[in-house]
Subunit: 142 residues, 2 copies
């Protein structure tokens, strides 16, 4: 199946209309290993001669995030969010506070912990945000 059909299906499964903008945004995300900000995506689309409004980029990302098609990553000590297409894989990132590079970590260390919290606090856990920061191996010596 070609990518566009896969995107159509993803959208349909979320009761979302399949529009060229949504497809285009999904394509940009698919072409990047690194999570992108709304503005990053906006710029890339412009470079591909796709006319779109920045508001629409935000709206689409928000919608896709709600439908759990795209994940939203909050960057520590910043008020920016970045987004990535998750292949059903919940994951986290390492942020280098010096060069600001993001490194994806596969897997999640918190599954057991969430169960523990539910038992201990009678809390129904829906999810969590986790970002780890420090120095990458290039920046380790400061």
């Amino acid at each position: 199946m070609d990518p566009e059909n896969r995107f159509d299906e993803m959208l349909k499964s979320g009761n979302l209309k399949s529009t060229k903008h949504r497809i285009a945004i999904l394509e940009v995300l698919k072409g990047n290993k690194i999570p992108l900000s709304a503005e990053d995506i906006y710029i890339r689309l412009k470079q591909n001669n796709i006319s779109i409004s920045l508001s629409t980029v935000y709206r689409v990302l928000e919608t896709l995030h709600e439908k759990d098609i795209v994940s939203k990553v909050n960057i520590p000590d910043s008020n920016r969010a970045v987004y990535e297409l998750h292949g059903n894989e919940h994951r986290h990132h390492l942020l280098c506070v010096k060069c600001r590079k993001l490194l994806a970590i596969d897997g999640c260390p918190l599954e057991e912990y969430e169960k523990l919290l539910e038992d201990r606090f009678g809390f129904t856990v829906k999810g969590h945000n986790l970002e780890v920061y420090g120095y990458c191996n290039n920046c380790a010596g400061y």
Copy 2:
């Protein structure tokens, strides 16, 4: 030792001048189990007839955070931060997405995990942000 002297020491240990605003902010934080936003603190100070500028509240909180005297908690799906006096204790919180209540969790599940990341990625971990969200026991049935 009375609280004010303790605060003086905390500030001195961070090479910070001991000012009435800093002390007042530390006192507000000390009087609250729940983390407070800059504006929360600002309002409480006003109620206590303490004249202060909101900018100063932000600056003081930022400074105390840098010196590791106060911890900064990012609220999921919001661009607000809240702050708390940590008694040397690194901790996390459960956020109820319905009533927006925050519940403190003692301890941290990530110590081992950070070591693992250092080994696996050659990354020097400095810290992490973790917030867990879901429904508290009052809101569990939606």
